[in-house]
Amino acid sequence: MLRRELYKRFLQIAIVLVGISFMSFLLIYLAPGDPVRAMFAVTGNIPAEEVMEEMREEMGLNKPFLIQYSTWLSKCLRGDFGISYSQGRPVSQMLSERVMPTLNLSLLSLIMMVIIAIPIGVISAINKNEIADYICRGLTFISISMPNFWVGLLLLYFVGVKLKLLPVVSTDMGFKKLILPAFTLAFAMAGKYARQVRGAILEEMNKDYVSGALARGISETEVLWKHIIPNAMLPLLTMLGLSLGSLLGGTAVVEIIFSYPALGSLAIAAITSMDYPLIQGYILWIALIYMLVNLAVDISYRYLDPRLKKGA
């Protein structure tokens, strides 16, 4: 049963991927401008139109859309994502170099976010409409209304320059380099997540079994920790999956500020230089990772929520 479900899911993933790649190919095809022009941006000297036309012919950019798309797709199925126009290296190599740093950054940010957000959300919920709630909500407001580059630059300034606790830049891609960018990302997301935690806990608290348990004399702490929080975790887990998704796609600004090269900054560079193979490869990989993560979350749902186990 589970296996059939998995097959169905994988099929759906494949369909979605093809759909996404088609859409992105189409969009980029329609966008004015092309990689040949972008290559001369550095000098500002624009070569003659014939020269650029020749280069376009060589790169196969003048072939009809569907031919370009199907060529690319068939190569992908063989694992060949093409050669980057801006770096001259295989796209798959460039992407795989940055997958681990991206995952590291995303995971650490998620962990930090959870550590910050859950206590705040819980405190906020159980002390609803009292001082503690207002303070916590105030903190969440600060988090969600500060742009991430501001937080990042401020952190970098105080921790790196003034206090000299961590290096501003380093060649070592290890833990030290991760802390500040991860914290910046976590800070920005924690506010939103804390509010979701608050909402989920409040919903649980309103359920009948809670009043029932309290009436039976079970202590509040026990009810909170053994029942409310675990039950509230389920929807929060899904939201965690969504957060990971936005992390994978939206870390570019933080990456640039902290000189932490991961997929986000690669994407921006690819897009500004109209590096088609790299852009396509990036979109495909990100979508794939995202859907795999969602799949994992859905599967874990099955294990964590006994109600679904029986239902399946």
Binding site: A31, P32, G33, D34, R37, A38, M39, A41, V42, T43, G44, N45, I46, E49, V51, M55, E58, I83, Y85, S86, Q87, G88, R89, E97, M100, L103, N104, L107, L108, I111, L153, L156, G160, V161, K164, P167, V168, V169, S170, T171, D172, M173, G174, F175, K176, K177, L178, P230, M233, I256, I257, F258, S259, P261, S265, L266, T272, Y303, L304, P306
Partner: protein
């Protein structure tokens, strides 16, 4: 029971994550060299240093002191002998014979023989020719097309026969495309003749360099150098202040540059470079009207724009060729000095006024609406905005259209603009002829359709003139024609900068032309 499951799963997840993080993180900074070390913060233009890959990578090879060419530019942007020490040229300027300096070796110990030079140049052309299977995107064809290239190891010379008479071979060969690398190992690594050699490339993060023990041109000051990629200008400034880097190139955030200039712990070297910021004018649009153009010239306060609006990132100027070059900038005159009142009067007298009371002047009954296209690079968008604001003050409407470089270029090619603001390297090969060609009527359909008989006449003379003094003279005249015709709006010349810690480093001066960053002139203090 369920809770235990979850707890274990969570623990497992955390331990997996932490082990990943720790495993990836324990590469200690191996500064194996015990001698002086330099940390250099740069913007990452390219991970590759191969001159054939593309323009950026060819420049980076030279910038990081790894590769060098047969010739090299001085600070007056004049090509001087480098790996080639002497040369002769045939009367028709087609056959150039270059003598390769004796004793020059690649950083891996191989000799730089004439054959090695010939191989390197041939490789460049092969790698960039798709019909021969090349995947490189550099464009050497745009600079030099040769019929034959031969090497004579006994004589120590390389002979290049050009397809057409070429007077500027030294300048062309100084261009980073033509850096000489060791072809025998080029598949695996880029080995050149510069003071430093590549030890390791960490894509996207850094490049580790070691000193080249076979360097032919003097002592190499540092034993090892780490080139750190920092794409954000504020972060670069902060890294300098925190001591994580000792030297940085081109800090472009004005306030950071100002703070560092005022701090005596840092040596800030600024040079007006060879890039001109200007706006091409579309003669086929409303700006074909001469009075309008002249009024516009007089309405723009270039000094304030360069000094204040872009906070000193440009040195203001009137000619399309930078003042730092040797083309008689001082002798040029400007008939359209900044004078807002005069601009208003000029327009009023010519009947270019606002008749329908909406605040904007009209020509032939239609509102003037200037389509100003530009892209975000080197403060160009700030110039476009400042121009729009100043022209609004004299009643001329400007719509600023900021796009990405690519789209902007498409609009330029399609002629869909009135003003096209950009920043151009004027003397890529040490000679402004190509750049001045943008106003030659055979080319100018790409840059606004400017056309002047006098200009064309002089330009055609320039194309054939091979005597340097006569060329200078023609170029001076060409500049003045463009100024008099108000053919283009010139803002100024982009300043390059290099900032270093004053107590640790000496000699960190930025070159006029931005091919050269890490040179052997940059030395540690007290070693």
């Amino acid at each position: 029971m369920r809770k235990n499951y979850k707890f274990i799963a969570l623990l497992l997840l955390i331990s997996i994550c932490s082990s990943i993080l720790i495993a990836c993180g324990d590469k200690k900074n191996k500064n194996s060299a015990n001698g002086p070390h330099l940390n250099f913060g740069v913007y990452n233009y390219s991970d590759s240093l191969d001159p054939a890959t593309n323009t950026n990578s060819s420049w980076c090879g030279v910038r990081y002191g790894v590769t060098e060419g047969l010739f090299k530019f001085s600070d007056e942007v004049i090509a001087e002998p480098n790996i080639a020490d002497t040369y002769t040229v045939s009367e028709d300027y087609k056959v150039w014979t270059l003598h390769i300096r004796e004793g020059v070796k690649f950083s891996n110990g191989n000799d730089v023989t004439p054959t090695a030079v010939k191989d390197s140049i041939e490789r460049l052309y092969n790698q960039t020719d798709a019909s021969r299977g090349g995947t490189g995107n550099s464009n050497p064809d745009g600079y030099l097309i040769y019929e034959t290239i031969t090497a004579d190891d006994d004589e120590g010379t390389v002979t290049i026969t050009c397809t057409s008479p070429t007077s500027n071979i030294p300048g062309i060969l100084a261009y980073p495309y033509f850096s000489i690398i060791d072809v025998s190992v080029a598949d695996k690594e880029i080995v050149g003749t510069g003071p430093y050699k590549v030890a390791k490339i960490n894509n996207g993060v850094s490049i580790e360099l070691l000193s080249n023990e076979y360097y032919w041109n003097g002592e190499v000051p540092y034993d090892s150098v780490t080139i750190m990629f920092i794409d954000d200008s504020s972060t670069k400034a902060m890294a300098l202040k925190s001591g994580d880097i000792d030297i940085a190139e081109n800090i472009t955030t004005a306030s950071d540059l100002r703070t560092l200039s005022e701090d005596e712990n840092y040596y800030v070297s600024i040079a007006p470079g060879v890039r001109t910021g200007n706006s091409y004018i579309n003669y086929e649009g409303v700006l074909g009207n001469e009075t309008l153009r002249q009024a516009i010239m007089m309405a723009l306060d270039k000094d304030t724009m360069c000094d204040i609006t872009v906070a000193g990132m440009y040195t203001s100027g009137i000619s399309v060729l930078p003042s730092s070059l040797s083309y008689n900038y001082d002798k040029l005159t400007n008939p359209y000095e900044f004078n807002k009142q005069a601009a208003i009067e000029l327009l009023d007298d010519a009947g270019i006024v606002d008749t329908d009371g909406d605040g904007w002047r009209e020509i032939d009954g239609k509102n003037i609406d200037i389509n100003s296209v530009t892209f975000t690079s080197r403060n160009l968008n700030e110039f476009a905005e400042a121009v729009a604001l100043q022209l609004a003050e004299i009643g001329i409407k400007v719509t600023v259209n900021i796009r990405d470089y690519d789209t902007a270029l498409a609009l330029l090619n399609a002629g869909e603009f009135d003003l096209w603001t950009c920043n151009t390297l004027t003397v890529g090969v040490g000679d402004p002829q190509d750049y001045l060609g943008n106003w030659y009527s055979a080319n100018s359909q790409n840059y606004g359709y400017y056309s002047s008989e006098k200009y064309d006449e002089l330009y055609e003379e320039l194309m054939l003139e091979l005597d340097n003094d006569k060329r200078k003279d023609i170029i001076t005249q060409l500049q003045q024609i463009l100024i008099n015709d108000a053919a283009t709006i010139v803002y100024g010349y982009y300043n390059s900068s290099m900032i270093s810690r004053a107590e640790k480093i000496t000699g960190a001066d930025i070159a006029t032309i931005d091919y050269y960053w890490l040179t052997s002139k940059i030395k540690p203090i007290g070693e």
